[in-house]
């Protein structure tokens, strides 16, 4: 692996580089790569450590005798609790899937006209979306809470799903990507008699598959890691991330179970990214902002 990476650095491209410089770059990347990866590797290892290894002094990084005990404990612990673990998982999956699919559908439907046509209001709407990238959701937290309580959405999953459907980043990336679709394709469809909705659904959507996956990779981890915030109070509506918080609050005896839940929370988004990486990069190439 190491020699291959070194070779990759020395591949003669454009301007040549000396061996020393490529070695230094390799070392630099290795050090920071380790900084990024070690906590995650540590988390994976922790999930498989038996209890006596979790509390070894001095603490050990890698697991010696991997077991599945923590996962069995997790199931047993949650099986005894008032709300079973499966309930938290179902809640999280429901929020994540509905939120992600809905976000992709709504923002692509809104992005298509903005990317391809000029009509009254199109420019101002898009610049409002761009401007809203420049502040975080915390700014609107107070009014949002009031809106939720007026709508009666406090303590429902809608309070998490609905606002997430219209996150500005998704629309922005989708619109930038859609601009690449050749106009001739849309014109041809129009001549064949397709209306706008058909064009959107049968021509634009299949052509922006990389952008769907990108929106998914941005939206999914956020909802997957959502803990219900201030909106959800009922235990049976809460999410997996919230359950993790409760388990780890159980103190030192729950360290192993906590590590198991953390692994579950972590693995899903990372797997999704591995699958969709090349598509995501394709979308990001068009992510530029034109001042």
């Amino acid at each position: 692996m190491v020699t291959r990476m070194m070779a990759a650095f020395r591949m003669p491209r454009r301007l040549n580089r000396s061996f020393t410089v490529s070695f230094m770059l390799f070392a630099f990347l290795a050090v920071f790569g380790a900084f990024m990866a070690l906590p995650l590797i540590y988390a994976v290892n922790n999930a498989f450590k038996p209890l006596n290894e979790l509390f070894l002094f001095p603490p050990r990084f890698f697991v010696n005798n991997p077991t599945m005990d923590n996962f069995y404990d997790l199931v047993a612990l949650m099986g005894n609790s008032w709300v079973p673990l499966s309930r938290y998982i179902v809640n999280t999956l429901f929020i994540t899937i509905v939120g992600t699919v809905g976000h992709i559908l709504l923002s692509s439907a809104a992005a298509y006209p903005l990317a391809k046509y000029r009509f009254p209001g199109s420019r101002i709407l898009f610049s409002i979306v761009v401007m809203s990238l420049m502040f975080s959701g915390h700014v609107t937290a107070i009014p949002n809470y009031m809106v939720m309580s007026w709508l009666g959405w406090i303590n429902t999953h809608a309070s998490i799903i609905v606002p997430s459907l219209a996150f500005p980043l998704g629309l922005f990336l989708m619109k930038q990507f859609m601009e690449q679709i050749p106009d001739a394709l849309l014109e041809a469809a129009k001549i064949d008699g397709a209306n706008e909705y058909r064009i959107y659904w049968t021509i634009v959507m299949p052509n922006v598959k990389p952008a769907w996956l990108t929106l998914m990779i941005l939206q999914f981890p956020m909802l997957w890691g959502s803990d219900g915030g201030n909106f959800i109070y009922s235990e049976n509506l809460k999410t997996l991330h919230y359950a993790l918080g409760q388990i780890t609050a159980g103190g030192i005896a729950r360290a192993g179970v906590g590590a198991a839940v953390a692994l579950i929370l972590m693995v899903v988004p990372i797997t999704l990214f591995i699958i969709s990486q090349s598509n995501v990069l394709q979308t990001m190439a068009t992510s530029g902002m034109k001042e």
């Binding site: 009254p120 009014p143 990069l281």
Partner: protein, 319 residues
Amino acid sequence: MQAETTSKAAVSSLVQPKKQSRLANVWRELKKNKHYYILMSPYMLIFFAFTVVPVIFSIVLSFFYFNMLEFPRFVGWQNYSRLFLNDDVFMIALKNTLLFAVICGPISYLACFLFAWIINELSPKVRAFMTLVFYAPSISGNVFFIWLIIFSGDRYGYLNGFLIKFGFMLEPIQWLTNEKYILPIIMIVQLWLSLGTSFLAFIAGLQTIDKSLIEAGAIDGIRNRWQELWFITLPSMRPQLMFGAVMQITSSFAVADISIALAGFPSVNYAGHTIVTHLMDYGTIRFEMGYASAIATVLFAMMLGANKLTQGLLRKVGE
């Protein structure tokens, strides 16, 4: 002759309605484009209800006293004067937030670019792997509790154990309850999480740079990689640089979850307090909604100001 007059009449009848009212014109335009409005409406409805209107509402509310029970009472600039003159904790929060913005913002931005630049030189398979390594923390997101174990105050904490074992110190340090260490630790974790969307945007941007530009540059006398970086690479990915800046600035002003997860809420002597946690304090615990809105408005102004300022600077890149 006859024909001429009729054509004139026809022309005038064509011209007349246009003059008649601009409103009808607008209406016609709207009707022509109605499909586009229908396509956009679900998104825009939610977007306006949960993003645009709340911003305006928040600004308005910041001039009122409102506790969710009584009818709001207009108090003018009182919330702001209290915020800046009478609220010591807010001053700590402001200081911490600015520290995050000034330290984490630029470092994370440069790190995103630097790593993207180095990774871009690798062969495709290694590049994909390294991209994953650097990007993974930002999507495994809420697993920053791992850092709790690393920085745990007893000797089972990974860092403490390591330092004691190798004799750097004799007694464990309470990393997360010692004012001295809280802020730097939050910054480290924030940086760990910050190679996100902009990092991907930079990698993608670097891959799309026109190779012929670089060849042309070599002929025009570009001698080293720094010149190539400044005169070719950076200017041709300026749009991505803009986008990345917006992402990094916004997130570095919004640090809160990490602070709460690591240092607690409130943290010891407010050492990890930020504007956002201050906002949560007043908005979700004390229910002083008017005051919390004033905090939100200040945050909004700071984020927008920092973004505009940075965009102005980035426009000068490679000129």
